[in-house]
Amino acid sequence: MKRDFLFTCLALAVLVLSVVPIGTAVFLLGFVYGDSPCVMCWEQRIGMAIIALLGLFILRYGPKPKYIGLSVFVGCWGVFMGLRHTGMHAARDVGQGFSIEIMSAHTYTWALFIYWICIVTMGVLLMLMRERDASAGLQPLRAVEKLAMVVFMVVIAGNIVQAFASTGPPPYAGQSDPIRFSFDPKHWVWSLDEWSSLPISLRGRWSIEKPAVAALPGDPSAGPLANLPALAIKEQKRIAVPLRGTPTDLAYDAGTDRFLLTTQSGVYLLDGTLSRVLRYTIVDPGFSIDLGQFAGAAFLDRNTVMALGENKGFTILRENDGADADKNFRYFLESFDKFDEMSRSRLGTVRSRMMYVMSLASDPATNSIYAVTVPNSKVKKLVVSRFDQGDKTLSEEFVPKLAPDSGLKFAGKNRSLDELYVTGAVIADGRMYAISAGYSTLLAIDLVSHSVVAAHAIPGLVHPTGIAVKGGDFYIVGAGGEVFVISKP
């Protein structure tokens, strides 16, 4: 390929980059339609201009490695900027985004695409380059190259005008929510907001730690609710069967007199005395959807169980004595012929989105399943989520309040139910009974009025991770394998 043709291609690429995204943005979208870039969009636009300018460097001085290297660097940085910006809006409801949408994509997503095209173009041009093309040194400019330079400067001049009006001279900087562009100075906003003192973080509100019960305070008298009546532990025993992992939740089915117990990846059906394993399996957590560690367990019917991970991923298993062990190799790590996996998916939430859960409860009366959030360092809110058992889709979420006629009071002005750490839940008598490993507190939540109608302290619990109801008793399992039996009030 002749050198002139290759460098003509480069000049045309610079022209296209200058005119299409940058020129259109300033002259058409900016001056005509009044669109002002936010601070991130400004930097994305500047990055494209830098890549175009590096193309001009190559046209002028030849393809020196430092020009190509800086182009690749800025291209990659631009892809990161586009990803970072798109990430703020990508997971919202369909059609949502920030500022204007062009041909079904918002400008920040176009930036991501354009930077990617720039890197691809660099790769193609480099592949087409011959050794003789690599000669460096001052090159006389041909007409198309002069045109590229002049057009670039005109586009940059337009950006100088728009940037002066929209963001101002230093030290003013671009804004997060810029107002519509105007040539009238009375509509110019010059802001120093971007320089305000804020904490620096890599993941911000997404740096959320996984749940843990070991360090939680267990003394109910230090809890957020004052003067709670205590429930005594009437019997304490240990789960004597071998388990792979430690207990993470418990459920009971009265029809078959069996308990369901989960460990981090295990699903166990035990007899009514918790002394014999009737069937079990260890779910392969590495297959398909990430289930995290199991934290919730519930019977959906007498032969179907659901295990919920703390990230709200779930698996539904049905008992089957004739299960195909070969077919089930992908789903399980042990005991391949006792269950079939019916589905593996995730529960989606809104209020609970940035919190993990450590409980699962089934309510056959309303064909619903429930989960309760645990607080973390970023988000502290006790949210109850209800899902339709049929399609496993969110039906409602609520933040329970203290029922006015419950007699319950907070222990101090700044105390709240949000301090509780619900690690087990069960539905009985139209109420949810939720056990908090933090402060060993048992809540009774009315599922119609969304209020806490009663609460009790249970001194002596050790790291409770699950609760079930059998007859007139609560069975609360601890992470260490203990089972605490308490009479229902």
Binding site: W42, L138, I156, P169, G174, S176
Partner: protein, 55 residues
């Protein structure tokens, strides 16, 4: 700061067009422009530098 960066880019392009012998100055100014662009993006995103999604 964006205004400053565009002025810088204009000056660099002018050097390439009219004073090409000042290649070293032009490239150094371009590096300054890149650093300013990177710095301003990090200032704007400092409370959550990485994309806010699941990894």
């Amino acid at each position: 700061m964006e205004f400053l960066n565009f002025v810088l880019l204009f000056i660099i392009a002018y050097l390439l067009l009219r004073k090409p012998q000042k290649e070293r100055l032009a490239f150094r100014l371009l590096v300054v422009s890149v650093l300013l662009m990177v710095a301003m993006f990090l200032v704007a995103t400092r409370t959550a530098i990485l994309p806010g999604v699941n990894y």
